[in-house]
């Protein structure tokens, strides 16, 4: 899941040109009402399966979905550089995937799009946000060939399913990266159905966890050569959060041992719902349930818990995770924290952390 869901709800708000709907969970992601249209929203449930390559494309009968890339890179000078690109889609009027959208000349508003881009380098965090209505043409996504775009920000496949190019440009920063996808998609939860509460809310969720990246990042006119690794998520749902869940803490970690770990906690009152996936360097991914995984917040930076302890006792994992110095809040319409992290403890490594729904955002 992720904050990605966030924005989509906001898009609805803006696009609807009406009074903002009453907030349901963080960014309205616990919203469960049906659309006034005759076509209902589809809600993922246990037993649903992933289909490739179709699931790289949009899901017009689901309320929310996102394409999400985070990357831990290094400049030619050896400095760490974090990077995020996300595109959100919010369905306003669901339609079956087999049905074509209205023609662009009618300025349809069955969906709204939002894109987030960020670069984190030398303690500075640059962020930009873009909005668009769906089905007009300047924002969209296709599974084959794989392409996701909003204005001139785009993630496109180049000459094959494992070679992608990502281009993003904001006022004072930009990046142009080549991505080489390695390994198969990792299905989270139960064959792709990722539960978000004990009562059944959830999403379809898979990741590409091993992406080799190289290219250039330009900040304030200074162009840097970068290379490193990335993590790509695809997720969609119609009701992601349960009513009462305030936000989440999410981690995607690359460990130096070659293992990977995805873990999240949905906060509810004093407790919450914990889940994750252990992806060993060799072998099949293992879904982690509430009894398998512990996420413990450490010291706060302002209102943000920027130090964490992650434990997966069955695999001898006891990690200390911390964000580098700086303020990594994405100050868009729904602010949230998105920062690179370093990992020490039983394993060393790096990764990304997302914190949403905190008061100080």
């Amino acid at each position: 899941m992720r904050s990605r869901r966030i924005v989509a709800a906001l898009l609805l708000l803006v696009a609807g040109c009406s009074e903002p709907p009453e907030q349901a969970g963080f960014a309205g992601l616990a919203e469960s009402g049906q659309s006034p249209a005759t076509v209902p929203f589809l809600q993922p449930e246990p037993g649903d399966r992933l289909t490739f390559p179709e699931d790289f494309g949009p899901h017009p009968q689901h309320r929310i979905e996102w394409w999400y890339l985070t990357a831990n890179l290094e400049t030619s000078g050896g400095e760490p550089l974090g990077l995020q690109w996300t595109q959100f889609r919010q369905t306003l009027e669901p339609r079956p995937p087999t049905q074509a959208p209205p023609p662009p000349s009618r300025w349809p508003l069955q969906a709204a799009w939002k894109a987030h881009g960020a670069v984190s380098w030398t303690g500075q965090h640059r962020f930009a946000e873009k909005l668009a209505r769906g089905d007009v043409g300047h924002a969209g996504a296709t599974a084959e060939p794989f392409e996701v775009w909003l204005d001139d920000w785009q993630l496109t496949s180049e000459g094959g399913s494992d070679a992608w190019r990502l281009q993003v440009s904001a006022a004072d920063w930009s990046y142009d990266l080549s991505l080489r996808v390695q390994g198969e998609p990792v299905a989270h939860g139960e064959a792709g159905f990722s539960a978000k509460s004990a009562s059944g809310e959830g999403s379809m969720y898979f990741s590409l966890v091993d992406i080799a990246i190289e290219g250039t990042v330009t900040v304030d006119g200074q162009t840097l050569s970068v290379r490193g690794k990335g993590w790509f998520d695809r997720e969609w749902s119609s009701q992601l959060l349960k009513a009462g869940q305030q936000g989440w803490d999410w981690f995607a970690l690359h460990l130096d041992s070659g293992d990977k770990l995805m873990a999240f906690r949905l906060r509810e009152g004093e407790g919450g719902f914990v889940s994750g996936t252990w992806i060993p360097a060799a072998g099949e991914p293992v879904a982690l349930g509430p009894g398998d995984l512990m996420l413990t917040p450490g010291s706060l930076r302002g209102d943000m818990p920027t130090r964490w302890r992650l434990q997966v006792p069955d695999y001898g994992v006891d990690l200390s995770v911390k964000a580098p110095p700086g303020d990594y809040r994405n100050r868009g319409q729904f602010p949230y924290w998105e920062s690179p992290v370093s990992v020490t403890g039983s394993h060393s490594g790096e990764g990304y952390m997302e914190l949403t729904g905190y008061g100080g955002e």
Binding site: L11, W107, L109, V136
Partner: protein, 761 residues
């Protein structure tokens, strides 16, 4: 502390005085804060909008075809910040709507700011999401939709793809500097309100002090030194100001908030400026200003500032100095060539008139008393004289307020009438059709000339706009002016109101026997009808007589009007259009024909009726608000006079009781009170009349031309004078009614023997 308690005990005995002073501080602070808050908000909004408008542009296709959704997508994907703007013209009963895409608008400026900016029109009636607007257009019913692509950012950044070009985008009639003019008037109103409130505050405070003189004298006899009393009075007024000014400012902001929606609507419609709440809304400035005003007017007597002696000395010189001030102000207003000097002149005239008015009433009363042998008449005249002297400050405040209301009313009415005329002449045609870039306007003119029923009907003319050079001649430096060319001379031009003209100017114009100039150029070059003006057009010099001077409001630029047939072949216009009133002709047939002539798929057609209706409603709102604010000021002045009159008359109850001793019945005494108070208020209304008319003249003929280069016609509205006279009558009658109640209560002795407290005989 005991001294302080002794001083404050006065207010315990006379709570009404404390209440009057506090109420005056609160209301004065509220009124001035309201006006200044609205003005500062408007100025901030105007500034912000000007920055935005400076960059407002649209994208056009180089091939002349209309822009489409595909163009929007191509430009967005190329990284350009464009947003769609779909205007849907519907039959008159349903009106026009504009469809926009708020998501696409997010790239215009900072996201939060732009969202707030676009959020406002979305809640209005005429703005819709672009999908809804498109659905309306698709529903038929004679609706016509035109898509524009608005472009953000300064020219050339980044360069547009080759297939597109940047073009200006206008949302309505160009109001030029009208916005600044509007704000200048509001500023002037704010200054006058401040002056009036200062006078009212001082008058109420002075009255209170006068009534406490006996207490001060008593304290002095008990050994309290005068400086100690003065210090205590300073602390008292500082505390009172601190307690009253802040709620007053808060009340003023509430007042501004109440007026804000209508004001904002007017501002937005008229100048395309949304009024952003919270801008220019510092608390500190109004609080400090009002504190300073309160302290200055109330403590002027406590502080030994040198100006006070000067004023006393001047006052000692009597009416000679006052008259001199007045005459100097009047003369300066005539000869001044700068805005600052004109404002000084206005200040001098107001100062002179303010000092003269009560003195004049008093003097006239004295002479009237001398001329009469009847004791009662002599008493009445003497009493009027006393009242005029003792109520001088509130009377002057009422005079200023009446004069201001009179001037603002005349100004607003003149504005309305003038702009109505001007809009009529500029929008005389039903439609403007723009000539597309590169299209041949002469071919279109030839085609129109052959079309029945337009041929020879005088219901259309060609409009060419460009630039001309006035070469340096006869000591005048060379300058570039706007060029406005028309032809053929249509019947629609007959409605133009000209400021000065030869006989049958349009006939001479159509024969190419001369040119016309706008008022701005005529003023700048001191041109009169019959003078010659040399122009350089496309490198050719041409001298022609001035046939007429026409008004041209809302912008400072000089302009020359020539017949289109006289444009040299090499002249490159900035823009061309046709003004057409099709009457019985079919507009669709005309536009289709022009499309064929110009071989284009799209025409830019402007419906002047809609613009006219918009402008009319907007002017109405704007002027209504200006009037409301002036009327509020008048009400404040009237209330102050009422309070003052009541309090002051109360101190003279003992004398009025003597009327009964002289043998008058209660009704006769009441009649005397009515005569006294009404004579007083009506006298001040009469004295306010010339001041108001003069102020109107100064604003119309001096301030506006000096500030903006164009003037308004001068007009007076006697029926409004009678309305103000009626108001003055009501104030007088109200004072008398209050006094009548007062006389019913016993008052055995005069409340004070002090001359300042009403004991003068």
């Amino acid at each position: 502390m005991k001294l302080f308690a002794a001083l404050l005990s006065h207010y315990r005995r006379h709570p009404l005085q404390l209440l009057a002073l506090a109420a005056m501080m609160v209301v004065a602070s509220a009124l001035w804060t309201g006006v200044s808050h609205l003005t500062s908000q408007a100025r901030a909004s105007l500034g912000q909008s000007e920055r935005a408008v400076a960059e407002r542009a649209q994208v056009e296709r180089v091939d002349g075809m209309p822009v489409t959704v595909a163009d929007f997508v191509a430009l967005r994907r190329a990284g350009h910040c464009v947003m769609p703007w779909l205007e849907v013209e519907r039959p008159a009963s349903t009106g026009r709507v504009v469809g926009i895409d708020p998501l696409a608008a997010a790239c215009f400026g900072q996201p939060a700011e732009s969202y707030r900016g676009w959020d406002q029109p979305l809640n209005g009636e005429s703005f819709l999401d672009i999908r809804e607007a498109k659905n309306l257009a698709a529903a038929g019913d004679g609706a016509r939709a035109t898509l524009s692509l608005l472009l953000s950012g300064p020219p050339g950044q980044p360069a547009l793809p080759e297939a597109y070009r940047r073009a200006p985008f206008s949302l309505g009639p160009d109001t030029g500097e009208l916005g600044e003019s509007f704000l200048l008037n509001l500023d002037a109103l704010g200054v006058l309100v401040l002056l009036i409130t200062a006078l009212l505050l001082r008058s109420v405070h002075q009255l209170g002090l006068a009534q406490r003189r006996d207490s001060f004298a008593l304290l002095h006899r008990f050994g309290v030194p005068e400086p100690a009393v003065r210090r205590a009075l300073v602390i008292e007024i500082v505390l009172l100001a601190a307690v009253c000014v802040v709620p007053g400012v808060a009340l003023g902001r509430l007042l501004a908030g109440g007026l804000g929606s209508g004001f904002g609507q007017a501002l937005e419609s008229l100048f395309d400026v949304p009024l952003f709440a919270g801008q220019g809304s510092s608390w500190l400035t109004p609080v400090l200003t009002m504190m300073a005003v309160v302290l200055a007017v109330c403590l002027a007597d406590q502080l030994h500032f040198s100006g006070r002696q000067v004023i006393r000395r001047l006052a000692g010189q009597g009416y000679r100095v006052t008259l001199l001030t007045l005459v100097a102000g009047l003369a300066l207003a005539f000869v001044s060539s700068s805005l600052a000097l004109t404002f000084v002149a206005i200040a001098l005239v107001f100062a002179g008139a303010g000092v003269l008015a009560p003195g004049l009433i008093s003097e006239l009363a004295r002479r009237c008393g001398r001329a009469s042998a009847a004791p009662l008449t002599r008493w009445q005249c003497a009493e009027i004289g006393v009242l005029a002297r003792r109520l001088a400050l509130p009377l002057v405040a009422l005079q200023f307020a009446l004069a201001m209301v009179l001037a603002v009313q005349a100004l607003v009415t003149v504005f309305e009438a003038t702009f109505d005329d001007w809009l009529s002449q500029r929008l005389a045609a039903d439609y403007f059709i723009e000539v597309p870039a590169g299209a041949d306007s002469l071919a279109a003119a030839d085609w129109l000339e052959t079309q029945s029923p337009l041929a020879g009907s005088g219901r259309w003319h060609r409009v060419v706009r460009g630039r001309a050079i006035l070469p340096a001649v006869d000591g005048w430096p060379g300058q570039t002016v706007d060029l406005f060319a028309l032809g053929p001379v249509s019947n629609m031009l007959g409605t133009w109101r000209l400021q000065a003209a030869i006989d049958a100017p349009w006939e001479a114009f159509s024969r190419g026997q001369g040119i016309m100039v706008n008022e701005q150029l005529a003023r700048r070059r001191q041109l009169s009808v019959g003078d010659s003006l040399t122009l350089a057009l496309a490198g050719e010099r041409w001298t022609a007589p001035v046939l007429a001077v026409y008004p041209d409001y809302g912008r400072p630029a000089g302009e020359v009007l020539i017949h289109a047939a006289q444009l040299p072949a090499g002249f490159r216009p900035d823009g061309e259009s046709f003004a057409i009133s099709p009457d019985t002709a079919d507009l669709d047939a005309v536009t289709s024909g022009l499309k064929r002539v110009w071989q284009t798929e799209t025409l830019s057609l402007r419906d002047n009726g809609r613009i006219r209706a918009l402008a009319d409603s907007v002017f109405e709102q704007t002027f209504l608000l200006t009037r409301s604010m002036t009327v509020l000021t008048l009400i404040l002045a009237a209330m102050a006079l009422l309070i003052m009159g009541w309090v002051f008359f109360t101190t003279r109850v003992w004398y009025y009781r003597l009327l009964a001793v002289w043998g008058m019945g209660p009704r006769e005494v009441a009649g005397q009170l009515v005569r006294l108070s009404v004579t007083l208020t009506m006298s001040i209304a009469v004295l306010a009349l010339p001041l108001g008319i003069w102020l109107t003249w100064a604003l119309v003929h001096r301030v506006n031309p000096q500030a903006f280069g164009w003037s308004l016609p001068m007009a007076v509205y006697p029926e409004f004078w009678f309305e103000l006279a009626g108001l003055s009558l009501i104030i007088g009658l109200s004072i008398a009614a209050l006094m009548r109640r007062q006389l019913r209560q016993p008052a055995a002795m005069p409340v004070s023997a002090s001359g300042l407290s009403g004991g003068e005989r």
